[in-house]
């Protein structure tokens, strides 16, 4: 595949060749014209000179015809060359454009794939972080719940005791206190008697 620099060089060479060809053509035509312009002869023409003039005219005509034919052929060739050049250029441009489009498309596909990979990676990372945070949060909630329940269980008896004291008041307790105490002592009579008599 020809890159842009090489393509530019080819175009430049073609233009130079065209220029040289054109210069050569103009030079040939100029020479023929100079050959055609002869210094004016005296009034009495010599038959030999006349023949020469006719010959020259004939030659000139032939040369002009030849030059015209060459010119026409070169023009034709130039036109054909231009058409070919245009076709080559168009083809080259099309190929280059296609290649660039293909390359661009591939780049887009690659970028898209890379983006997908990045997004997938980020999503995975975020999911992992989310799971970790959720696990941590759940563990924290469980721990907090455990602490609260533990604290509640630890203080439950005290809370209820204080509640009973507050709710019932001392009056209701003291009214029946002696009887309650004696009932409790009676319920634990054996234990107390064993303690006092055995040890004492």
């Amino acid at each position: 595949m020809i890159d842009q620099n090489q393509f530019g060089i080819v175009i430049l060479a073609i233009f130079i060749l065209n220029g040289l060809l054109l210069i050569w053509v103009i030079d040939q035509m100029s020479r023929l014209r100079q050959g055609h312009k002869q210094p004016e002869q005296p009034a009495a023409p010599d038959p030999a000179i006349i023949d020469k003039q006719q010959l020259a005219e004939t030659m000139q005509q032939k040369a002009e015809a030849e030059v015209a034919a060459i010119t026409a052929k070169m023009a034709e060739n130039l036109g054909s060359f231009n058409s070919q050049l245009e076709a080559v250029l168009l083809n080259q441009a099309t190929t280059t454009l296609k290649a660039q489009l293909t390359q661009t498309g591939q780049t887009v596909v690659d970028f898209n794939n890379a983006l997908k990979v990045t997004v997938a990676s980020m999503t995975a990372t975020l999911m992992e972080a989310s799971k970790a945070a959720q696990s941590q949060l759940e563990a924290g909630v469980v721990e907090q719940e455990r602490l609260l329940i533990g604290q509640f269980e630890k203080n439950l008896a005290s809370v209820i005791n204080n509640y009973l004291i507050t709710a019932l008041g001392h009056d209701s307790v003291t009214t029946e206190q002696t009887a309650q105490v004696i009932r409790q002592l009676e319920a634990n009579k054996d234990e107390l008697r064993k303690d006092l008599l055995h040890e004492k």
């Binding site: 269980e153 005791n161 206190q177 004696i182 002592l185």
Partner: protein, 159 residues
């Protein structure tokens, strides 16, 4: 005559007071004898004794003899020297009648010479704590709630 600890003597302080009272009474009697010997006519009255001393001596119509007083003092001194004191903690201050009732129960059921010392702690909720020289018996509501906390939690969980 064998002395029996009366219910009017409940605390160790009662023992000390009674002992002091009997000692004063004995001195009073001795002084009275001296006065009588030197011609005086005054006799000490039984009413000068405190009720615990009267209960201890078992005084009726008859005045206690010097031997009775000495015996009672020896009994109290021995009790004072090696007392069996039970420290009781209750939720509110007990009236004297209640203290006597509890002392009676201990002397009838456990030991005839048990002395009681009372203290108040509203945090026990109710019931009683008994601290003997050897063990602590906790029959308070607070400890019973604590001991049955699992059942309480089960009940709460059921609710």
């Amino acid at each position: 005559m064998k002395n029996k600890l009366p219910l009017s003597i409940v605390t160790p302080a009662d023992v000390t007071d009674c002992l002091s009272d009997l000692s004063q009474y004995q001195k009073s009697v001795q002084n009275n004898h001296l006065v009588h010997k030197v011609g005086g006519a005054t006799k000490p009255a039984v009413t000068e004794l405190s009720q615990p001393a009267i209960d201890l001596l078992g005084v009726g119509e008859k005045l206690p003899t010097n031997e009775d007083i000495i015996q009672a003092m020896d009994y109290l001194a021995a009790l004072h020297k090696q007392p069996l004191v039970l420290h009781l903690t209750v939720v509110a201050e007990l009236p004297l009648k209640g203290q006597v009732a509890i002392a009676e129960w201990f002397r009838d059921s456990c030991h005839p010479e048990a002395l009681l010392s009372f203290s108040v702690n509203s945090q026990i909720g109710g019931g009683i704590k008994v601290r003997t020289p050897y063990h602590l018996h906790d029959y308070s509501y607070a400890s019973q709630l604590e001991a049955n906390k699992k059942d309480l939690i089960k009940e709460l969980a059921r609710v």
